[in-house]
Amino acid sequence: MDTKGILDIIQHNGENQAGLIAILEEIQAEYSYLPEEALRLVAKETGRSLADVYGVATFYKAFSLKPKGRHCISVCLGTACHVRGAQKIVEEFSQELGIKPGETTSDNEVTLETVNCLGACALGPTVVADGHYFPHVSRNKVSDIVDAARNGLETLDGKTDGRVFPLQVSCPVCRQSLMDPDHHIDGHPSVTLDASFNGRKDRVHLSSLYGSRAPASGNGVPHNSVTRLHCPHCQSEIPSFSDCLECGSPMAALYIREGCTWEVCTRRGCQGHMLNLNQIDLLKNDEGK
């Protein structure tokens, strides 16, 4: 267990009693469950009895004291899903996976859960596998969902899938191309930028494929640090107009053409990005004030 990581979590949640749920939520997000040592550490650091911490950890449904599998399938048992036969869907998953709800397959791959309501009531019965929603699930779709979860739901084939396509970007200041034809990622020329963090500099390459999950290459700046990104040609800092939707760090707006930008998160390791086709609005307003 990463004691330092857990101490960090306790620290930035203020070490006070009120932060307990937020602390446990963060630990759960990190480990997918609440390890016993973590609970002991939290009790010690927040000055609460272990019984107290255990009480909270077992009161709320979001917390688990058991490790979960690599993939998680949650079947919604909200009322709307229930009247459309969600119970049968749970049974089908149970049969398909050979486990009961709340259990994990023996190969530690898949955990089956039920949830009170996902708030996607119009689409019931609804199933969420690793954050992907499956609407109107019927019994004969169950084995496909299990397969999809086991094989990884994030994969998109850039060659055949119309939803993934390469972008051509340039510096919003000097308008010179940022594409590097000599450095390919995902089979396309990559986007090259200079990154700096606390005086450390690095050349980074990003996949130019919109929708690609390939991480940026370059190791000069530490993981998770929020960097400043510069144009390798004119050295101007790439401006930011909005914050990352995933983590809140500033996003750098790379120029595609008038009004169109591709915004990428400046935090190393964050894959937050946005293809913005209405950028003109914000640019104008910024100029206007």
């Binding site: 009247v83 009170n116 119009a122």
Partner: protein, 1055 residues
């Protein structure tokens, strides 16, 4: 972004944005909320962006990715502004066409929205009934903005209300304004928001004070809070800031469920944006007011929707409610005054400030002002979010906006208020939706979940579902809630498992009352509501589970067994013969069929297939197994002699059966096997009843009927033809002749009349007369242009028979509703159309034109569909001025039949208005001892298989009657009891489609009466049988003892 220091500076910025955007570009609007994303809108968005970039369209077209638009049933859909063309349920490949059309200002007509089952295109969103019926003052904004762009919110006039609020030095006026608007808390209890704010404003001194936005939305089935926080987070934030001003709060918290990641994300982004403009945080717009909001993620506990539990949860404790007072307003979070408002309540605040209290109070009804958003979900056509003024009748929401039921299953109730709420039956759908009416009906408004339930929803199961939820979610502090919900659950479980007794209901009611009276918080006190309200309105369903061991919704598994078997009125085991077909044991299959049903070959042709409509394969997203076609395959192939039961020894006791139709013959046959001597009295010259007089030979060949009836005869049965009850015999005469019991099964042979003048002129025939004359006597009554009035099977049969008569030139069928409502079997209607019958819908005859004592034509009026009537169908409403005349040579009136029970009343039997004989549902006893009645005579026109079932039941009951046993035995659930080894076969990718038997081409059938449908080939039948999901195995696998017994005798149980 620039941080503004003064109200006027911000005002200049805001108004500049509002003015600057007279954007005339077409805009593509698509939902990127949780629902949209779940339905694949992200894929569409990528394709749209790609197209815009690749075709260089960004200055000709904009794209707006919004939050939930409410019409979730149609997701993923696109709306193109300015025409508001709505394209529902899109696929990725449809997108480029829509984009290209949008750029040119054109519309892709074939992709436009149309009402299900209709061909009328709706060109704009406003023409769609789902939207037309709503008043979307809150939810409607979602469509106009991208929730991650504060710019969009400002452009629509966002934060103008805050500006106004800040503009006045004293903020107390806000409290008065909200009070005058009459806004009531949208979280469920409906407390006046203004009143709450007044108390909060006066609470405490100048210290810390909290405003909490409750977005816990724990009610399963409700999702409007998620959709608002996701789709328009700034409205909630603006509402919160205004609330903070009004009550002098210093800190804000949005308490949101962790199951709503996108809502958390959007709210976080919005707060960041508001802070950077200076609208949130320290010194808001330079006014010296500090107020900031943070997000607290609930960790999944329903009870935390209760305010004191919610507070404990933020304090880092277990979410157990505490005793009130002190109310949170006085002593809340960390001991400070705390005002808790629901998301939707806060979303209404900017509207009230912008438009004024009077305008707001003008929406809705007295004491229930404004709108309420409902999540209309479950068994309804248009699922989604619906915003209507309070006081709107339920029926409008369910039928007009919601579009009514999905498929044929009638809607029976709605459930509102989540686990603390209750069910309201369809008979009360006139009820206006307001806080008081719902409470009076035994439910509550709750947060706005409205779950529609139909005939396939079991109310006992619903109560059990909620109780299971509540026993899990009870915090455990009060013993009666913790244990009471547990015990109520167990009692309900017993009932659904077939272990229920009448005492269960007594105990349930007593327990429910105790829990209500002795628990502390709202969750505990309302926890018995699901039980009490279902018992109040659906007690019969509970009793059916307990007394008859039946779950008519087919939900409770231990009372249903294999659905195909449970659906069959004569208790056939379809799963069993389908499995035997798979094994190639066709004789075994025949024995299974025949042991339950004396009319296998007839049923194989005309059964209405209740088994197929309940087949798990069909219910699970595929096509039902073609069970009837497999039965036909078996009966065509196997000689009936493989199953010839021998009658028991003659007991020398006589029973009279009236009517030689399927009910009468079945009863006679079954009674004869018990050793009774049966005399059947039949008014016609041949047996068969409706099988021969009404059903056309192309559906049911005559030799099949004759052969089947002949096979049922034995030495104990004699039939006297041409002997009618009331004319040749009476009940009294039969009883005095030594018949110890009489079974009345004369069917329903009297056609209903139109009730128009001239109805008796030459050329007009009641359908039964028309059909009988042809089917039994070969007389062709029709000629020239034939009109048929009606939409049921007799009408379609009459039309198709008329078409086959020599002197007929054409046949038109007139029906008063639309084709969707026609009660005839869909395939019969299809066949009639194929053969050339014209069907005119939405017309009613109003006058018969006659000339020289003969039919000349009819005058009709056109109808439109009106409100839903008692039968659950829309009422046809005549359109004045739409009258027209049709010239006809023949008219067949087929608007329904009724039993010809006239003479029975004079023999002392009770008969109802519809001519139906009154008989006990369980014992078939009439008001005269020893006289039993069944079939159409009791039910009115019904199916063949129901008549056979009635005959079977009558034989059983009469047997018990004659042997002096109690007529009814204690019910047992009918579960599969014989194990048949499932087939093992390679899974070969695509599952085969449902088998379709060959049928005669139209050209070869229209002029004759050859049977239209053939049997499946052997290969088809074997393949089809392998599609069966074998629902029986779940019950038979656990009984290894019977496993061997079943296998030894070819899977046939000798019982």
């Amino acid at each position: 972004m620039k941080t503004f220091q003064t109200v006027s500076e911000f005002n200049a910025y805001r108004t500049a944005i509002m003015d600057s955007t007279k954007d005339k570009k077409p805009c593509i609007v698509i939902c990127g909320g949780t629902g949209g994303q779940a339905s694949g809108s992200n894929d569409l968005i990528r394709i749209i962006k790609r197209r815009i970039l690749e075709q260089n369209l960004h200055d000709k077209l904009s794209l707006r990715v919004t939050g939930c638009l409410g019409f979730c049933e149609m997701d993923p859909f696109i709306i193109v502004e300015p025409g508001y063309n709505l394209y529902p349920k899109l696929k990725m490949e449809d997108v480029p066409r829509i984009i290209d059309a949008a750029v040119k200002g054109e519309v892709v007509e074939e992709l436009l929205y149309r009402e299900p089952g209709s061909t009328v295109k709706r060109f704009s969103q406003q023409e769609i009934p789902f939207f037309q019926g709503q008043t979307r003052i809150v939810l409607g904004q979602n469509q106009n903005l991208d929730p991650i762009r504060i710019y969009d919110y400002l452009r629509m006039g966002g934060y103008a209300a805050l500006e106004q609020a800040l503009g006045k030095p004293d903020h107390e006026w806000i409290v008065h304004e909200i009070l005058r608007a009459g806004l009531r808390g949208r979280g469920g209890a409906g407390f006046l928001t203004g009143k709450k704010w007044e108390l909060a404003r006066n609470a405490g001194g100048s210290g810390r004070k909290y405003i909490i936005c409750n977005a816990d939305e724990g009610d399963p089935g409700a999702y409007m809070d998620r959709s608002m926080l996701e789709g328009n987070p700034h409205a909630i934030i603006e509402g919160m800031i205004i609330a903070a001003l009004a009550i002098k709060a210093t800190h804000g918290i949005i308490y949101v469920r962790t199951e709503y990641p996108l809502a958390i994300k959007h709210a976080t982004i919005a707060m960041r944006q508001a802070r950077s403009l200076g609208l949130l945080g320290r010194n808001i717009l330079g006014q010296g007011i500090d107020f900031d909001i943070e997000i607290f993620q609930g960790a999944g506990a329903f009870v935390c929707g209760e305010e004191t539990a919610l507070i404990k949860s933020i304090e880092g404790k277990m979410g157990e409610p505490r005793q009130r007072p002190p109310y949170p307003i006085a002593k809340g979070l960390f001991g400070h005054p705390t005002c808790i408002n629901n998301v939707e309540t806060l979303a209404n605040v900017p509207y009230i400030v912008n438009h004024g209290a009077e305008a707001y109070a003008g929406i809705g009804v007295e004491n229930n002002t404004g709108t309420k958003i409902f999540s209309l979900v479950g068994k309804i056509k248009n699922t989604g979010l619906v915003e209507v003024p309070l006081g709107t009748p339920i029926s409008k929401v369910v039928h007009e906006i919601g579009g009514g039921p999905v498929g044929n299953a009638k809607i029976k109730a709605i459930q509102t208020g989540g686990p603390s709420g209750g069910c309201i039956p369809a008979s009360m759908f006139d009820l206006p939706i307001d806080y008081n009416s719902l409470a009076k009906a035994g439910s509550i408004m709750g947060s706005g979940g409205m779950i529609v339930m139909d005939m396939n929803t079991c109310m006992v199961d619903v109560a059990k579902y909620f109780m299971s939820f509540l026993k899990e979610e009870s915090c455990g502090k009060c013993f009666t809630c913790r244990k009471g919900t547990q015990r109520m659950y167990e009692l309900l479980e017993d009932i659904t498992l077939g272990r229920g007794t009448p005492e269960h209901l007594t105990l349930l009611e007593e327990l429910a009352q105790t829990v209500k009276d002795t628990t502390m918080c709202g969750l505990g006190q309302s926890s018995p509501n699901p039980v009490l309200s279902t018992l109040r309105y659906f007690r019969e369903e509970y009793e059916r589970h307990i007394n008859d061991k039946r779950c008519d919704a087919f939900v409770c598994k231990q009372l249903t067994g294999a659905p195909c078997q449970a659906a069959c009125p004569v208790d056939t085991e379809p799963w069993r013969y389908v499995a035997l077909v798979e094994k190639g044991d066709y004789e075994g299959a025949y024995r299974v069929i025949r042991s339950a049903n004396p009319f296998p070959a007839v049923s194989a042709r005309v059964c209405d297939r209740k088994c197929e409509s309940r087949c798990s394969l069909g219910a699970g997203g595929g096509e039902a197994v073609a069970i009837r076609a497999l039965k036909r395959f078996v009966t065509d192939r196997v000689e009936p002699s493989v199953y010839r039961p021998e009658p028991a020894e003659d007991k020398g006791r006589k029973v009279a059966v009236i009517g030689a139709g399927p009910a009468g013959i079945t009863a006679a046959h079954q009674l004869s096997l018990l050793g009774y001597r049966i005399t059947v009295f039949e008014a016609e010259k041949i047996p068969g009843g409706m099988l021969t007089c009404s059903l056309p030979a192309y559906r049911l060949p005559r030799d099949i009927v004759e052969k089947e009836i002949e096979g049922l005869m034995n030495k104990n049965i004699s039939i006297e033809y041409g002997r009618a009850l009331g004319k040749d015999v009476t009940i009294q005469s039969l009883l005095s002749q030594g018949f110890e019991a009489v079974f009345l099964a004369m069917g329903a042979h009297e056609s209903l009349r139109l009730g128009l003048e001239n109805e008796d002129v030459e050329g007009i025939f009641p359908s039964i007369e028309f059909l009988k004359d042809f089917n039994m006597r070969g007389k062709e009554l029709a000629r020239g242009h034939v009109g048929v009035i009606g939409g049921g099977n007799s009408a379609v049969d009459a039309a198709r028979i008329a078409l086959r008569q020599k002197e007929v030139t054409g046949v038109t069928l007139f029906y008063r509703r639309t084709r969707d409502e026609m009660p005839a079997h869909e395939e019969e209607i299809e066949a009639a159309l194929e053969e050339g019958v014209r069907i005119e819908t939405l017309v009613s005859p109003i006058k018969v034109h006659a000339g020289e004592g003969r039919l000349a034509g009819i005058e009709c009026v056109k109808n439109r569909l009106g409100g839903i009537d008692a039968s659950g169908r829309p009422t046809p409403v005549p359109i004045p001025g739409s009258e027209f005349t049709v010239n006809l040579d023949t008219l067949v009136v087929a608007i329904g039949e009724r039993p010809g029970s006239g003479p029975l009343a004079s023999m002392g039997l009770e008969v109802d208005k519809g001519g139906r004989v009154k008989a006990d549902r369980n014992t078939l006893e009439t008001s005269t001892k020893g006289v039993f009645a069944g079939g159409d005579l009791v039910t009115g026109p019904n199916t063949v298989i129901d008549a056979v079932a009635s005959g079977k039941k009558a034989a059983h009951i009469i047997g018990r009657f004659l042997s002096g046993q109690p007529l009814v035995e204690p019910a047992r659930p009918k579960l599969p009891g014989v194990y048949i080894e499932p087939a093992v076969f390679e899974e070969s990718g695509e599952a085969p489609p449902r088998a379709v038997p060959a049928s005669l081409p139209v050209s070869e059938r229209v002029m004759n009466f050859r049977e239209v449908e053939s049997a499946l080939t052997e290969e088809q039948a074997r393949t089809e049988s392998r599609r069966c999901l074998r629902c029986d195995l779940e019950f038979t696998m656990q009984q290894p003892a019977e496993k061997t017994a079943g296998a030894a005798i070819g899977g046939v149980r000798h019982d």
